[in-house]
Symmetry: none
Subunit: 212 residues, 4 copies
DNA sequence: GATGAATGAGTCTTCATTCAT
DNA sequence: CATGAATGAAGACTCATTCAT
């Protein structure tokens, strides 16, 4: 199995490096939101964790919401970078799909440590803070569809064999991967390990005999 | 397509019928938690929505947590009832699988109106209130696996064709359905409509030529 | 030592006998106020302890305050009865004084079981409910003074020996008895046992040699 | 009569001086608890009296209980200081006893303004907040006993004359002083004035003729 | 007479945010 | 830049009392 993305290029550490005060604050924000969720984390907690006075937080960010927004922004930056890397790899379509899903969902698991509060965070982002956390997922779906279409055109996948469109296949892949990400007790490692099998099961009927 | 479960038997209305005060309170609880989540819904809000004084809530329930617990209990009762009905239908394995998934996830979508707060609620249930909301999902997985195994023994599915175990297939079905349930803007209707296609795509390689 | 008062004449049981509903309620009131104090005892608690519905309490009493007033009234009735009995005994002045103090303070200890909440109760009685709980104590002081004066006239006590008035001696006796009553962990029995020694120590300088 | 303790050394003012916010809060706490008792005083009341926002109270103290504890702590500090001063005076045993009692009970009357709520406060301290308010009183009893024993050894008191032990005499002195402190309407001044007479009456039988 | 159900006013406590220094 | 101190608004929960049955 190829290494899906070059971890040295973009790591959590590189995005949360504790250089500036702002970095410390965002690192504290991520850590606490992961552990306790948005609501249960008080601004006091963040200040204590970041080792600064509460008022200092307000020097750098307009409030709790902006700290959250910035934390998400850094996450999406990392995710985006890894996605681009995954698309650039030259390998079989199956491997590329695995790499892309891993870049998106694997990064999510890594950053958010598969926290039980992930969807409280998502819910807050969408409904109270207006961060379009769903947009990257849509982009992901489009990328995946494009990848499958290209493979079909190259003859690497035969969608006609299962009577489904590229959109349908991308959709089901995405659904299954999402489900796997949310399986209880999933870690980045377990997700990483299970992914190829899931992709293979879904694609199995579409791979021409001469390739399989 | 068969009707997955007989809606006249067990509907949300039948479980939240506004007969007693307790029913009114639980109905208000459900409605507000769906709209605003657990934390953002205050006990005052619930009292206002239910049309009773705050103290009355405490006459019927020991606190906010117990209102939540009772709301979940009623949901699980409904879900359980529909699952049993789905398992009892006599039809093709594909239809039965669709019916079972619909009984579990369709009911969830219906009850919680696919709220963006679903996982805040799940998180609160699991971590702060100790309601085992995951247990029914495990039961669901076992039922699904059993169904697939039975179909294989009857020759209705050929797992050997894709080299997967019944557990694997059940797992992927569950992952995909979970993903579909969480798709943005999914409604009970859209989920209901998409489900057969998803199930078919995953099972397509395992259905013997003489049946398909 | 003579028996200070005839217990068969007036006992707590005879005043709180659980005949009527009102009796049950007052018995519950006494028991709970002794155990938890006035504020910490809720009307719910009283209803539960008395085995009646909360609304029933309000049939018999206008509110929590009146239950308290009635409870005090019954206590004072008992105390009064025992005082009269103590005064009627024919014995030495020292014994009579002991008997009188015991009738007042011993009854208090018995009724209120030397509760730590005694003065919260007194404070509530005086300041919020306007029950003159101090009045009986003043009457007691007058009785004691009268007793001492009579003894002096009879030559049984010689106040001139210590240069104090009957009022002064009564006062100090009363102070010391009050202190003994409030000693930590005092029970009715321990108070009863310590009382003669205390009285003797205070009177010792006034007893004529021919009597002592 | 000697001045029992040098008031300029340790006064209520010096302990509650309204320098810091915490001081203001404790001063308000003392004043309100004295006037209304613990339960009847709400945190809102304290905030209003102290002239700060309610949240400010929680900045300085963890809650109502801690405000109470701190108020008691300051009282005990003052009491302790005055006791030490009383013991150091060089004068007759009678005067020293009066001075010591005044340091303990006089300070209590002064600080708590002989409030009717004194024992609700004591009860709350002992039973709900675990402040050992009885311990200083025990220390006081030991000091008093020691003082009497020393006087006996010096021949200043003759306990044999009344057939009592030093403990007994200390006990009765303490009881009587406690009673005087709790006399209705006692003020610090009236207590101060009555104390020497009370002590004298109790000690009168033990003072050798050559001294008296 | 007795009660189950209901409530308005009040309790203590927390939190995101601001401001003078 | 950084902070200690302060706060208004809101949160969950309790209680003595009332009323229709």
């Amino acid at each position: 199995m190829v290494l899906c993305y070059d971890r040295s290029m973009a790591t959590i550490a590189s995005v949360t490096a504790s250089g500036s005060k702002a970095d410390q604050i965002i690192a504290a924000t991520r850590s606490l939101f992961v552990r306790y969720g948005y609501r249960r984390t008080s601004v006091d907690d963040i200040a204590r964790e970041a080792g600064v006075a509460k008022a200092t937080l307000y020097l750098h960010f307009s409030g709790k919401e902006e700290m959250f927004r910035e934390m998400i922004r850094r996450f999406q930056l990392l995710q985006e970078e890894r996605c681009a890397a995954a698309e650039a790899i030259e390998t079989s379509v199956e491997n590329k799909i695995v790499a892309l899903i891993d870049a998106v969902y694997g990064t999510t698991i890594e950053w958010f440590e598969n926290t039980a509060h992930i969807e409280e965070l998502k819910s807050v982002a969408l409904h109270e803070i207006s961060v379009p956390v769903d947009e990257p997922v849509q982009a992901f779906r489009r990328r995946l569809t494009r990848m499958i279409k290209a493979a079909e055109e190259r003859g690497e996948l035969r969608l006609s064999a299962v009577g489904s469109s590229a959109q349908d296949v991308a959709q089901v892949l995405l659904f299954a991967a999402y489900g796997a990400k949310h399986a209880a007790h999933a870690t980045h490692a377990s997700f990483h390990a299970a992914l190829p099998g899931i992709v293979r099961l879904i694609l199995v009927g579409m791979i021409p005999a001469d390739i399989a």
